[in-house]
């Protein structure tokens, strides 16, 4: 038996007995980032493929959520900072070794670009919209003219953003649960799936909805595969990673993870989507909401559980 105690007494707020520096802000930030990346990815992809007519919600309307999600996400990140009035320091340097740094920069790029995207469709949504200034009208024309190039830029940026939400965590080798390369792809796929769910929910066209639902089914399949892969990797790894996996296999996160994330957030909505595609009448809001809820829970659990896993004591 091995017992380790602090004889000098140590009870630092948010560090002891378990690390809890990141609260709800970071998982929310990761969720909103993933959601925005997902919607933006499909919007730019189907613009590049020239499917504006068939997929109007994907290409035009769902994108209205993107700047909102990004601004909210950045605000959540801001709330997490403890030395808030030095926030601008984040934008004085670019540090590629620090995911927090390049991620903040990617957000800074993708937010205005997605706003430009939205502004180029605003007249289609509100035909009476008036930009008031001639220069803005010119700017709008320019965006519409170069929409394809904008789509390419946003396609690449959205993939980077989606992966970043996972890499932010996996870069921390001190937290064995996070320290796995699969987290980047896993968060990307999960983000794409929440994006697809949001589009599905908003879409009024049956064809578009059933198409996105098929895409989503594939994404859920990949996500489940990655999750199994994640745990297989842990179980075949070092003691600290086996301990990390055990939090989900009998440990304190077992129920929340397998019930809320895997069953309610992935398997059950997948079954509903299959039934829907087979012709059963199922309101699309149910699987869509479940997927969004599952994605949010997934990030909360990963951030929470990861901070508990450690090397010492």
């Amino acid at each position: 038996m091995k017992e380790e105690i602090f004889v000098s007494g140590r009870n630092i707020p948010n560090i002891d007995p378990f690390l809890h520096i990141w609260h709800w802000q970071i998982p929310l930030y990761l969720f909103l980032g993933g959601l925005a990346a997902g919607i933006m990815f499909f919007a730019s992809l189907y613009t590049i493929l020239g499917k504006e007519k068939e997929m109007p919600t994907t290409v035009k309307w769902a994108v209205f959520l993107v700047p909102a999600a990004l601004v909210l996400g950045l605000f959540a990140l801001f709330l997490d900072l403890k030395h808030q009035w030095y926030f601008w320091r984040l934008y004085l340097t670019v540090r590629f070794e620090s995911p927090m740094s390049w991620g903040a920069w990617v957000l800074m790029l993708i937010t205005p670009l997605s706003m430009m995207w939205v502004s180029s469709y605003i007249k289609e949504l509100y035909p009476k919209w008036d930009w008031k200034f001639e220069i803005l009208n010119k700017f709008e024309k320019l965006i519409i003219e170069y929409r394809k190039s904008l789509a390419w830029a946003l396609l690449i940026l959205s993939v980077i953003l989606g992966i970043y939400t996972g890499i932010l965590l996996s870069a921390f080798n001190a937290r064995p649960l996070w320290n796995t390369a699969i987290l980047g792809p896993l968060f990307l796929v999960s983000g794409l799936s929440t994006g697809a769910a949001a589009i599905m929910w908003m879409s009024k066209s049956h064809i578009e909805r059933s198409f996105m639902s098929k895409v989503d089914l594939i994404l859920i399949g990949i996500e489940l595969f990655f999750i199994i892969h994640l745990f297989m990797g842990f179980m075949a790894s070092t003691a600290v990673q086996i301990n990390a996996a055990e939090l989900f296999m009998g440990g304190q996160f077992t129920v929340s993870f397998w019930v809320f994330v895997v069953i309610l957030g992935l398997v059950f909505p997948a079954i509903l989507e299959i039934l829907e595609l087979r012709g059963y009448k199922i309101p699309v809001a149910i699987p869509a909401l479940l997927i969004l809820f599952g994605g949010l829970m997934f990030r909360f659990i990963m951030v929470e559980a990861g901070q508990i896993t450690r090397y010492l004591y």
């Binding site: 007494g9 009870n11 403890k82 010492l312």
Partner: protein
């Protein structure tokens, strides 16, 4: 130059003087500490083994806290000492998450704080407060690259270990065992 510390676990009695010395020297806010003492009891009765360790930031050679800091507030000083510049720190907590030793904390004023190896003393040629106050003289500080320094001498004839070297941080606090 590479500053490091060697701590003799056989001499340490766990009095926690180093902790109090640091809190006083560095004005550490109430309820926080930059160093702490761990007692490890290993084995089953009656075959027990006790190890007492005074722990602090390891001033790692490959420190993830410096790597993950988005602003560069966490950085290396001369001799590999890792410190935080308070007015560059945004308090994002990335460095706290990245330290396998939980050696950092969020100061009540918002920025992140930690052991500095008493840089302000070391620059004047003095030893860190914890080292100079230890009643059993169980801590050795100095330049690893200088074979005559206290720390190099201490490491020469003894077996030693570092904490969680598998985390890949190349820690620079050596425990004599």
């Amino acid at each position: 130059m590479r500053y490091a510390m060697a701590i003799d676990t056989k001499k340490c009695v766990g009095c926690s003087d180093c902790v109090v010395a640091c809190q006083t020297e560095n004005n550490v806010p109430h309820g926080y500490c930059r160093d702490w003492v761990v007692e490890v009891m290993d084995g089953t009765y009656p075959n027990l083994e006790l190890e007492i360790r005074s722990e602090r930031c390891n001033h790692c050679d490959n420190s993830p806290c410096v790597r993950c800091c988005p602003t560069g507030a966490s950085h290396y000083e001369a001799g590999g000492i890792v410190t935080v510049t308070a007015n560059e720190c945004i308090g994002c907590g990335a460095c706290i998450e990245s330290c396998p030793y939980d050696a950092r904390y969020s100061h009540p004023d918002g920025y992140v704080d930690k052991c500095t190896f008493c840089l302000h003393r070391v620059e004047k040629g003095e030893k860190p407060a914890c080292v100079s106050v230890c009643p059993t003289n169980c801590m050795y500080f100095g330049d690893l690259e200088d074979p005559d320094s206290d720390v190099s001498q201490a490491l020469q004839n003894r077996k030693y270990k570092t904490l969680a070297p598998e985390a890949g941080t190349k820690p620079q606090i050596y425990y004599l065992i």
